[in-house]
Structures are given as C-alpha cells and as structure tokens.
Amino acid sequence: MSGSNEKFERDFESFLSDDDSRLAALYRKLPQAEPDARLDAAVRAQAHHAIAATPARAPVTARRNWMPVFGVAAVVALAVGFAFRLGPQLWQRPASQPEAQPMAIPAAQPPAVPQPAETAPVAQKAAAADSAGTAVPESRAPVAELEKAENAASRPAPHAFPTSARAMQRVAAPPPPAAEAKPAMQAPAMAEPMRAKRVETESAGAPAAALAAPATQDRNASLYPEHWLANIRQMLRDNRREEALRSLAEFRKRYPDYRLPDDLRDLH
C-alpha cells in the first residue's frame, strides 16, 4: 500500500516537474512585479519601530516581576512592626523561666497593691458564676493577659478575666452604695468593663494594673512593665537616680514576681 503511494507520489512529482520546467520558463516571463520603494520603506520602518519599542516595555515587565516581591516585603515589614508593637512582653521574658509560668503569681499570694474593698466581692461573684475563669488581682492582670495570649485557645487560662457576657455584666454591675461615697476608690471597679472589653478585642491590651493605678502614683505605672523599666533606665542615664530608685521600688511593689533585668536587679 505504501509502496504504491510512494510510486504515485513520484509520478506526481515527475508530472509537476515536467510541467514545472515548461511552464516555469513561461511563468518567469510574466512581469516580475515587486513592491515599490515606498512600500518597502513603510514595512521596514514598521519592523524597526516594533523593535525600538520593545526595550521600552522591558522595564515595565521587570517592574511587574518585582511587584510580588515588594508585596511580600511589605507584609513582612507589617508583621515585624506588629510584633514590635505587641511583642516586648514575649521576647523580654527571661529564658530561665518556664514558658508556662514566666511571671505567674501564686494564687495564695496577696496582691501587692491593696484591693479596693468594693471590687473584690464583685470580682469573686463573677468568678464564681463564670466557669471559664477566675478573677485575678489587679497586679496580675498583665500576667493573665500574657498567659491568655500564649495559651491561645488551647486551654483555659487559669487566671484569666471572666470573658463571658454574663460575667461581664456581673462585673460591670452597679457598685454598692459605698462606692458612691468613695469616688477615688471606684476607679478599679469602673476599669473592669473597660479591661474586659480590651481583653476581648485585643490580643495584648494595656495592663490592668495600669488601668487601676491611682493618679497619685508613679505615672509609669500606666505603662507596660517593659516600658516602665525602659523609662527607669532613661532616668538613670539622665542622672535622676533618686527618681529612678523610687520608680523601681514602685515597680517592685506592683510586680513583685517580675524578674528584673540584670542591670536593674541589684539597683538599690
């Protein structure tokens, strides 16, 4: 079959060649029309223009290729900035302490700062009503929040604030009449709902101790512990040693279990 096809092809090519040779000679006598010079110039100009325009597109392509890289870099920068904003409590934790209890305060230990008498029963009632957690003293609030952030949702935080709506309502319940007579002592109780809201909406809110700090105390008490310590260092650098020592003493009172950095630990 294929042999007959090949023979047919050869015959046909021969036929074409025979006719080619005779007709081709005549065909070549036909006017050999060609494009005129104007047409040649137009085509060449178009070809050259196309190539000349190509390098101009190259940077655009390169820029497009870099866009994903810039995007990733922007995301990383954002993440690092976010970590700096939220992270000091995490990465300044002493490495010698176990992760689960870096600044844990024994439950039996009394709070360093006297609790307002009015708030303790309220918090205890809320704790009793809320099976998810227990109320903590004011000074433990940063620790509780930190632990909560570390533990995420894997296990209930032992000292977490009550976060259920019911508990919040109980915590935010109107203070007893005695509180009305002592507006200065009302601040911690008023801070409860604020703190609870922040615990709900932020992974790391302001320290509860700061929120509860009386206005007459060290203004650094409103800061995170690490920022407070940074300000103490700044005082030392500014030769305000007495002020720094007072502030450090206040810090120790407020965070008795906080492991101070080496440069401040022996400062007296």
């Binding site: 007709l23 060609e34 085509v43 190539i51």
Partner: protein, 183 residues
C-alpha cells in the same frame, strides 16, 4: 548577513531584536510574497495593502514564531488568510477587463525583435489570461508552486486543504493552462 542563513534563523534573530536579520529576510521574501498576493487579487492597490498588512502581522507575531514552522509557509499562510478575507469582502475573481489592465500595468519592456516580442507577449498574455480564468483555489496552488516552489504537503498545510485536494487543484490548473496555451 550570510545568504545561506536559513529564513527560520533570521526570523528568530529578528524576534530577538536583530534588525539586519529582518532586512535580509524581507529582501529575500518581498518579491515572492508580493507576486503571490498580486496574482491572487489582481489589483495593485489591494496587493499593496495586503502586502503591508501581511508584514504587519508577521511583525506583531514575531515573538510567537516557532522554528518548527517553515518561514515561507508561515508568511504565505498569513497572506493567504488575508487574501481569503479580501475575497470574502469582494467578488471572488477578476474579470477579463481587469486582467488586461493588470497586464498593461505590469508589462515588461518588449524584446528587440518585433515578431518575437509579439509572440512572447501573446504567450504571456495567454498565460496570464489562463491564470485569471482559474478558480481561486487552483490559481493559488499553481502560484504557490511556481513562485515559492512549495510541495504538495506545504501547500496543503498553508491553505488548510488536504494533500489529495491540493494535488487535484494542481492537476486541473496545469491542464487548463496547457489547454489555454495550445489554443
């Protein structure tokens, strides 16, 4: 540019930005392409337009060219598509009057001997008339064979027809032209 450099390599070189490659390629192909188009449409203005459009499309598609495709076939395929589009927009074939016009426009200088010149002129005129009288598909196959030396397979690939169809077209074209020349 080396004359022995294959068209396909030249086309690739042009796609990479080598303008001398394009100039060489253009010089090689311009006459063949132009005559193919002109003999297909039998109108110089239309041929000019389609010729330029063919190169425009080639230039625009230069980066998509693959060396697997023979350059001449690719170029003629572009032209073929444009010619087909042109015929779709207008009547399919040129009349005898237009053929005479083309002959007058394209005629070459006559030979020195008047009787020989008359004989040559008459023979070319008959060939031109025979070509114009062919159906478009047969004329196209014949011109592609004569102008570009394309084989049956290449013409089939270029025009999108089967090889047997192309053979038939060529046979009919040769037969009709011979008959017309023998009159």
């Amino acid at each position: 540019m080396d004359a022995a450099y294959p068209d396909e390599k030249l086309m690739q070189a042009y796609a990479r930005g080598d303008l001398r490659a394009f100039d060489t390629l253009y010089a090689r192909s311009r006459g063949m392409l132009y005559r193919y188009i002109l003999r297909s449409v039998a109108d110089r203005a239309v041929a000019d337009e389609l010729f330029q459009e063919t190169w425009s499309r080639l230039i625009a598609a230069r980066e998509r060219y693959r060396v697997e495709a023979k350059f001449t076939t690719w170029l003629l395929q572009i032209a073929h598509n444009l010619v087909v589009d042109h015929f779709r927009r207008s009547r399919p074939q040129a009349g005898a009057e237009e053929t005479e016009t083309v002959m007058r426009e394209l005629d070459a200088p006559e030979s020195d001997r008047p009787e020989q010149a008359l004989s040559d002129f008459e023979e070319r005129r008959r060939l031109q008339m025979a070509l114009d009288a062919l159906p478009a598909e047969q004329r196209e196959a014949f011109v592609l064979r004569m102008e570009s030396g394309l084989g049956v397979a290449e013409i089939a690939q270029m025009t999108g027809a089967g090889q047997e169809t192309v053979k038939s077209r060529l046979r009919y074209a040769f037969a009709k032209i011979r008959e017309r020349l023998a009159e």
